[in-house]
Symmetry: C2
Subunit: 619 residues, 2 copies
Amino acid sequence: MKMDSDFGIARELSDLQKLRAQYQPQLPPCLEGTTVRVEFGDGTTTADPHGAHTISRSFPHSYGQPLAHFLRATAKVPDAQIITDHPPIRVGLVFCGRQSPGGHNVIWGLHDALKVHNPNSTLLGFLGGSEGLFAQKTLEITDDILATYKNQGGYDLLGRTKDQIRTTEQVNAAMAACKALKLDGLVVIGGVTSNTDAAQLAETFAEAKCQTKVVGVPVTLNGDLKNQFVETNVGFDTICKVNSQLISNVCTDALSAEKYYYFIRLMGRKASQVALECTLQSHPNMVILGEEVAASKLTLFDITKQICDAVQARAEQDKYHGVILLPEGLIESIPEVYALLQEIHGLLRQGVSADSISSQLTPWASALFEFLPPFIRKQLLLFPESDDSAQLSQIETEKLLAHLVEAEINRRLKDGTYKGKKFNAICHFFGYQARGSLPSKFDCDYAYVLGHICYHILAAGLNGYMATVTNLKNPVNKWKCGAAPITAMMTVKRYGRGPGTQSLGKPALHPATVDLKGKAYELLRQNATKFLMDDVYRNPGPLQFDGPGADAKSVTLCVEDQDYMGRIKRLQEYLDKVRTIVKPGCSQDVLKAALSAMSSVTDILSVMSTPSNSGNTPF
Amino acid sequence: MKMDSDFGIARELSDLQKLRAQYQPQLPPCLEGTTVRVEFGDGTTTADPHGAHTISRSFPHSYGQPLAHFLRATAKVPDAQIITDHPPIRVGLVFCGRQSPGGHNVIWGLHDALKVHNPNSTLLGFLGGSEGLFAQKTLEITDDILATYKNQGGYDLLGRTKDQIRTTEQVNAAMAACKALKLDGLVVIGGVTSNTDAAQLAETFAEAKCQTKVVGVPVTLNGDLKNQFVETNVGFDTICKVNSQLISNVCTDALSAEKYYYFIRLMGRKASQVALECTLQSHPNMVILGEEVAASKLTLFDITKQICDAVQARAEQDKYHGVILLPEGLIESIPEVYALLQEIHGLLRQGVSADSISSQLTPWASALFEFLPPFIRKQLLLFPESDDSAQLSQIETEKLLAHLVEAEINRRLKDGTYKGKKFNAICHFFGYQARGSLPSKFDCDYAYVLGHICYHILAAGLNGYMATVTNLKNPVNKWKCGAAPITAMMTVKRYGRGPGTQSLGKPALHPATVDLKGKAYELLRQNATKFLMDDVYRNPGPLQFDGPGADAKSVTLCVEDQDYMGRIKRLQEYLDKVRTIVKPGCSQDVLKAALSAMSSVTDILSVMSTPSNSGNTPF
């Protein structure tokens, strides 16, 4: 870790950065002022009916807690309570996992909310991520320190190191830090892994009667912390806009030079959310989603053939250029490559050195391994990540596919099935160059509001909750703020995946993969042929902060069904209404009608909620 | 080439693109209205005193023509003439070489100028670059066609294919096209290669009494068409801004994660202009300019050591991250690699297959070749480009250096000289993703104005000129418009470079390398230590079209001496003044003083202008 004195120092900002530092995100009406009301909904279950029991057993203190909605002081909700007592509190905040644009604004929002409710409250940032938490290295957040970090990218105000707070030793170190620093709250900023850790911390703290309440915040550029309660993640909007700018530039380049196929791999871990969104923004010729490949069990050869057929169809229209997007998780979605990776990772975990692995593979895996070009072999031999996946950012799937496609096109050229010009590929990986970007207006607003919500969660005394904002596709003044128990978002894997991996049945947040029945994917399918053949490239341009495009939201966010929290509330209103209408003393007819109707409703819902035998991820 | 019907079709624009399409570039006062005056300066020589004779011999019809300045109709310049006759003319325009942001605006500016002076004039765009010129495939430019291409990136309105118009066959095909299409003018848009070709075409056309006048326009993202008359090139500003955005994002990322060294290679061909400008905009830790390496004759080992020493010095301050920029031309600047490449290219040109080259290298070259990692070997064996350089965009210098640095750091770790943490490198190539960008406001304006100037060059009947704008660091209303004979920008190489390369003494425009005595480089040197050690990363942010940063100009443009054309004019004014004062009839004393002063002035200038034996590139 670098010397502490470097953290929190004021920086020189460029003119644009200065302008951005002046930007004040709006708050939704429910969070304005100091008299926020909190309304509790019904106790939560989880969307995975299989897992509910396992999860409730693993999280006896934090499972089943109600949803919380934050409302305007004037909202006409009888049960909502105004929290009037705001003693000074001490809150710690830690950046976990990979940086995502907007992270700094969570700090800012939380700091503003703390100070407006009690100027004596204290916000401590842990320096260098979870390592700083364990070592109790903190920086007290002040207005001065925040000045040059407002609406700015990166995690460099506090830094970050390791991702996990998981082992007993780590959890104990975290608890010791919270106790030593007398924290009333600990805010964990991160993606699926970090929020799973936050839930575990919350449970452990409750069990140990530690006073610190733990709150999670969904901040991950992968956009894969998605569920009933969480519509999108801080950073996803920015990443997709920056990547789409670059993809569009490459599309323009392809159309100008008319002689290259660009193979572009996109950061985003296992799920293909970033690739899907960028496709909908930029309209490249093709995208190969990991989810499609996994669902159709496509082999490497199938994918190669699919791309070659596209190249050939375009050549028949005299087109020798194109842009093809590949999510970095694609490589693991190809069944035979996944199986090979599992064997390799198993051997690596047994301590077999990378050099001698190839001789210890099963004959089938060995055959595939030897078939692959040397550069990919070397990359597949890298030690797996802490979440059990391969080092996706290091595996150049784009080069592998370009290589295989070139070989296949040359074969077709020889046997006369392909009659076009030479196939030329150029490969790119778009990842790190987007991750440090200035956050988009949306991400600035979203993160700032989430920071405020963290305060209200703590003020309401809640533990093991994630801050949530729903209705995000609408303007900020329509946003709905709330909190949901992290356990309600968990699922349980029903089978292990090879030796040494996560043990069977451990509840966790899992990356939400692209829903192949969802509206965003449907939009892609409807346009796939046009994208492939007609070069209807779309260029959203560089990230803007004013004027057209500055308020654009991600396409997936806008087309998907939303406001689950709102609908849950509306359902409660219906139930309350039935109860009011069918009060004792109502007519027999009304009661009969109510009974008959409610009986069929409950029948249908019971059938729908019975665990089926389909996949393990409900979204 | 793709079907012609695809060219010039209206496209769907994104909201931001639509806004940009509405932007109307300003014209400097001298080009407003229809009464532009042209003033001719003295006949030109060339900055390379060695070459003047050779150039004049090679270009008997086009060498030594005067500079032209375009002035306001009301300008008080006695000799300037207003061109009043504007018959309808037919002009052809061709995109040569690699696309550069802003190219479309040259078409737009030229079209506007043509039509405002005579609505019956015609502008024909050649489809698919020089191939379209040879094949006489054209698209008539109209307001409708331009609508969705104004201020937009790429070359996709017309496309481009090959770079060169050089062989007798090609030159004849171009002349045939100009004659068949009855062109009064041919506008060639491109960089050093294409403008050299334009000069050759002009000479050949004049010799053959072909009526078509040839005009060149300096459009190249490399920023290497720089000389007394040309301050910068269309596209350079955009490319540097887009790349600087990405470099800054990576710097933020490095500072947040604190565990990676990023090695970033930048597009820009032989010269390191792009790398220098991006360094001055983003302040990464290090840049290794090809010009420095060539001047100091640094070996691959020297460069590796230099980077390792930097990594080690930073580790001693507990810093394990950093960002290092490398121009793509660096690889050719390393003397021993250059020698190796020359051998390889020689053998390739003799028809030796790539597979058998390694066995035919000289022992010394062979030893270096075998020392290099396999992926680089493969890339070095690629056939050279038409300009005799290696395929720079394909050679992953960043990976080679990361590889060598890692090995050296590991060695130092073993022998105890390096005591820090593990060295981790991540490599990037930033090229194609910037090339298709929406052009910056500067490039939109500059290209549009150059387009107008093309018209005035043709209206003045000039042949073999390049359109020029000087005083560019000032606002558009201070820009000075002119034209200079392309031959005045030529230099002559004094030695060949290995077998089969450009023959000795052929005049050409050569890429302007970074001037190691220039102000921009001095600025870099002054800050190098601070950049290296203090992480004073600067983030100009994404390309903006309004507000802070939208009007920012490149740092190199702003610090360098400029307005050569203006100073040439001021000199003429002084000479005229002396002539006026010392008219026959003036006093003996005045005459004596004038003679004495002018005698010493001419002595000094004679000494300064005598050919010295230093390098072959005067800039």
